[in-house]
């Protein structure tokens, strides 16, 4: 009766993981992945604030993700914590979970949930492009692949980030009397831009907005080489000519920018691929550098996992679901709410705030 036993051991994927208002719930394992509301037990993919929130009972995540949560939310961000390494497997209830690198930011992980013979991979946010500041993405074969779709349209193809940094350096050379302000998300993107600048041979000090300092120093403490970094606070306006400063995107159109001599406003983001988006934000120098897989990355990854079912979370779900269906894969949007770019969903910053 092989048919019978296969029926017993193969669970329906939706019995293992299902979307509920608090996030992705794993009933047989008794936990939620990246819950957006406080839950008893949370398994967290990475440290961005839309995925890693405070107030859970127990948190399972990589050491880096736990450290980042602690930096952001203080020591009491969760009842208890457990660190897990890439490649490590733990049993939770009736399932096992195993973490794999997601290549998104330092410490980011895909979470493989296996119940009986069925393996679902919740990839969180991921990118398959090279990044000197985090472990490279690994393809994890699975039955169901849960993918983000932030850049899930074929117009999003991100190219080599090194070329974008060259663009920035060419601008610095052309306008030596102006300051260059690079808007970049403070966790991950900023450090990647700095590391890319260093790879491109830029060895002058790089300046940081106050909101960047803690997390960037944490990266350095984890052995990510970023060269000489200085706080921009307290610098004389004239001394900032010809320099590069990293700041959260919202700060680049803020009163804060008045301390810079005739600043060139750059923004490092996958969104910069589309002109209207860049113009809307008043960006003068768009740098197409993304933390997320682009269209080619998403489609190649889905194919490589061998999954015959794909669940699409936040982003441009429609196009990616359509693409999967063209290939004969079962695909559906998960309609999870509460995820997006971490600084994107942020309410407009307090304008008068000094940072």
């Amino acid at each position: 009766m092989t048919f019978q036993s296969a029926y017993i051991t193969r669970m329906r994927p939706q019995d293992i993981l299902m979307p509920v208002p608090a996030g992705l719930a794993c009933k047989p394992g008794g936990f939620h992945i990246d819950p957006v509301r406080p839950v008893e037990r949370a398994v967290i993919t990475h440290g961005h604030s839309d995925h890693a929130r405070p107030g859970h009972g127990a948190v399972l995540a990589t050491q880096e993700t736990l450290d980042m949560m602690r930096l952001r939310y203080g020591d009491n961000f969760a009842g208890s914590t457990q660190a897990i390494a890439y490649g490590e497997e733990v049993r939770l209830g009736d399932v096992t979970v195993k973490f794999y690198p997601a290549g998104h930011v330092l410490g980011s992980a895909q979470i493989a949930v296996t119940c009986k013979d069925t393996r679902i991979v919740a990839s969180g946010d991921y990118k398959d492009a090279a990044d000197p500041t985090c472990a490279p993405f690994e393809v994890v074969p699975c039955d169901v692949f849960i993918t983000e779709a932030t850049f899930g349209l074929p117009v999003f193809r991100h190219g080599d980030a090194a070329d974008e940094v060259k663009k920035l350096l060419a601008s610095v050379a052309l306008f030596p009397e102006r300051a260059h302000l690079v808007g970049a998300y403070s966790l991950g993107k900023a450090q990647r831009v700095i590391a890319l600048l260093r790879e491109a041979g830029y060895d002058a000090p790089i300046y940081l907005h106050g909101a960047m300092e803690k997390i960037t120093h944490y990266y350095q403490s984890r052995g990510v080489a970023l060269g000489e970094l200085r706080p921009v606070k307290g610098m004389k306006k004239a001394d900032l000519a010809g320099t590069i400063t990293l700041a959260p995107p919202s700060a680049t159109s803020d009163i804060w920018t008045r301390r810079f001599p005739d600043p060139v406003t750059a923004f490092a983001s996958g969104w910069m691929r589309v002109r209207a988006r860049a113009r809307q934000r008043g960006v003068e120098l768009p740098l197409v550098i993304s933390d997320h897989a682009d269209w080619d990355g998403l489609t190649a990854t889905i194919a490589a996992t061998g999954a015959n079912e794909v669940w699409v979370t936040h982003g441009q779900e429609d196009a990616l679901v359509h693409w999967c269906q063209m290939l004969g894969l079962a695909a559906r949007p998960l309609d999870l709410v509460g995820y997006g770019d971490e600084d994107e969903g942020e309410a407009a910053p307090a304008d008068e705030a000094e940072a």
Binding site: L153, P154, V155, F156, R157, G159, K167, S171, L174, F175, S253, D254, I255, W256, T257, R258, D262, T265, R273, V274, R275, A276, A278, R279, Q280, G282, V283, E284, L285, P286, D296, Q316, D318, A319, H322, W323, M326, A348, D351, E352
Partner: protein, 546 residues
């Protein structure tokens, strides 16, 4: 092509004029002939090939991409060329046999001779070879829709900067030059002599006036000046001559030297005497000068239809003569040029060209009176189209640019209203951290009593210090935010009154208030005035009727 694309890409985002110039000059310095010449031609609008239609671009992509994915992408991006540039399938040819991407020169020279049927295939080949930005620039170039905020004048100025030359010199020789402008660049780089303009109908850089201030009159003697009305039209230079075979040629230039002949074919037959007239382009109906609003409806039209020419009859009001047959008159004093002009216009004897009359005045008091009431000082029924007076020194030669003390403009006082600040938006570039674009309104009767209705937008007129003050006011008095727009408090007793100056008013069905202002700017901040005392819409409506 990729280097040119990079330039366009950067220019499209750069708001500052000086920075645009630097980007352009750097390009002209770094890039070799003939590519840079074709770039200059593209930026000055000197290239014209049969443009590819959007339909063709759409066909190209639907042959290569899933229609649903294309539809979703186009919805998201909103621009056809950009969508196609971004989602064009990557060619997956392994190895090193891929042809190099085309240069700008390849593209321009190929397009010149390419037949219509071969265009789709050639375009597809180039799109295969270029990167995203290159594809975007190529599609913008071939569809003739560059729209990156670069005027021909700016591009020429950037070229002039390459050799520390005066852009006027380039304007002068421009009509005689052809792409890729090797002779021009050779001269700019000091490798050869200045190219000579063999054009029989060249543009001459125009002479401009300074705005006069009250204090200036004390140092000026009325007897040294000739006064004319300042007409509210567009400044043009009408040049007629004969080419080397003796055929008559005529051309109409804008004040920046742009050739605008094609827009005014109805004026050409009137330019039948060799010479160069400096004057104002106006619309005349039954001998009466129409306001700028009327003239505006003839401007920027792609097609100049017979109906348009009939409904908006064009006219040239002459006020200076720069060339008379082969003689360059620019060194002569203005009084002498004026006499030559009068004779020239008489000889032309054409109903479409007349003389801008001079205003008789003995002293500044008399001129002040004339300016205050042009109708009774000689302008008669044309007074509505007068926007002030011009003062020209009798002995002034015709000098390019804005030389000191030679010509003065003395505009009529602007209209002034007190309006209430309603919404504020961030500016661009240097002003991106300031709320510097203001929507203001005046009171009108609404369903629930008096309410403010927006009547215009202004983003200049204030000093840097005032900008700081308004910015602070906006930040502290925001009621609501809609994306980049802040709703600023505007209640009868709470809010900021702005004194707004403007040049004219016209009816506009597109505005809720039914009126649109010409050239509005903030002239004063009325911190002292409560919003309830600001002006009412009725005041503006009366101005419309007047």
């Amino acid at each position: 092509m990729n280097r040119f694309a990079e330039l366009l890409d950067r220019l499209a985002y750069e708001p500052g004029r000086n920075n645009k110039l630097r980007l352009l000059t750097a390009y002209f310095r770094d890039v070799q002939d003939p590519d840079r010449g074709y770039a200059l031609a593209a930026l000055t609008g000197a290239l014209s090939f049969k443009h590819a239609k959007p339909g063709l671009i759409r066909d190209l992509i639907t042959d290569r991409a899933d229609p649903v994915l294309f539809g979703l992408s186009y919805d998201y991006v909103g621009d056809l060329s950009e969508t196609v540039a971004l989602m064009w399938p990557k060619r997956d040819l392994p190895g090193h046999n891929n042809p190099p991407p085309p240069t700008l020169t390849d593209v321009v020279t190929t397009l010149r001779t390419l037949g219509k049927t071969e265009l789709p295939k050639q375009l597809a080949r180039w799109l295969d070879e270029l990167d995203e930005t290159g594809r975007w620039a190529l599609l913008k170039l071939v569809t003739g829709a560059m729209r990156i905020g670069i005027s021909a004048r700016l591009a020429k100025t950037a070229a002039a900067n390459l050799g520390d030359k005066d852009p006027h010199d380039i304007e002068l020789m421009w009509p005689g030059l052809t792409p890729p402008y090797r002779d021009l660049f050779a001269w700019l780089e000091g490798r050869s002599e200045k190219p000579v303009n063999s054009d029989p109908v060249p543009f001459r850089p125009v002479m401009l006036a300074h705005a006069i201030e009250d204090a200036d009159f004390a140092n000026l003697d009325a007897a040294d000046f000739i006064a004319e009305w300042k007409w509210d039209g567009i400044r043009v230079q009408a040049v007629a001559g004969r080419d080397e075979r003796g055929h008559p040629q005529a051309r109409l230039y804008s004040r920046t030297g742009e050739d605008i002949t094609k827009s005014f074919p109805d004026l050409l037959p009137s330019l039948h005497l060799p010479g160069a007239i400096d004057g104002e382009l106006l619309v005349l109906r039954d001998g009466r000068v129409q306001t700028f609003n009327v003239l505006q409806q003839r401007l920027n039209r792609k097609v100049v239809s017979p109906k348009l020419m009939k409904d908006f009859p064009i006219h040239l009001r002459a006020y200076d003569l720069l060339g008379d047959d082969d003689n360059d008159l620019r060194e002569l004093p203005f009084a002498e040029r004026r006499a030559r002009l009068e004779a020239f216009v008489r000889k032309l004897n054409d109903p479409r060209i007349d003389l801008s009359p001079t205003i008789a005045f003995d002293d500044w008091t008399a001129l002040t009176a004339a300016r205050a009431d042009p109708a009774s000082a000689g302008a008669g029924e044309d007074a509505d189209a007068v926007e002030g007076v011009m003062l020209k020194r009798r002995d002034a030669p015709y000098l390019p640019g804005r030389p000191k003390g030679q010509w003065w403009k003395w505009k009529r006082d602007p209209h002034i209203i007190d309006a209430v600040l309603m919404y504020a938006q961030r500016g661009h570039g240097k002003r991106s951290s300031f709320y510097s674009d203001y929507t203001f309104g005046v009171w009108t009767k609404g369903e629930a009593g008096d309410q403010l209705v927006p009547v215009g937008k202004a983003y200049f007129g204030f000093t840097d210090e005032e900008l700081l003050q308004i910015d602070r006011f906006v930040r502290r008095n925001t009621v609501e935010k809609f994306g980049p727009v802040r709703h600023v408090v505007h209640e009868p007793d709470q809010g900021l009154v702005l004194e707004v100056a403007f040049e004219g008013l016209q009816r506009s069905p597109r505005h809720k208030s039914g009126v649109a202002m010409r050239f509005p700017r903030i002239s004063r901040l009325r911190w002292d005035k409560p919003p309830r005392e600001a002006d009412r819409l009725e005041t503006l409506e009366r101005m419309l009727r007047a």
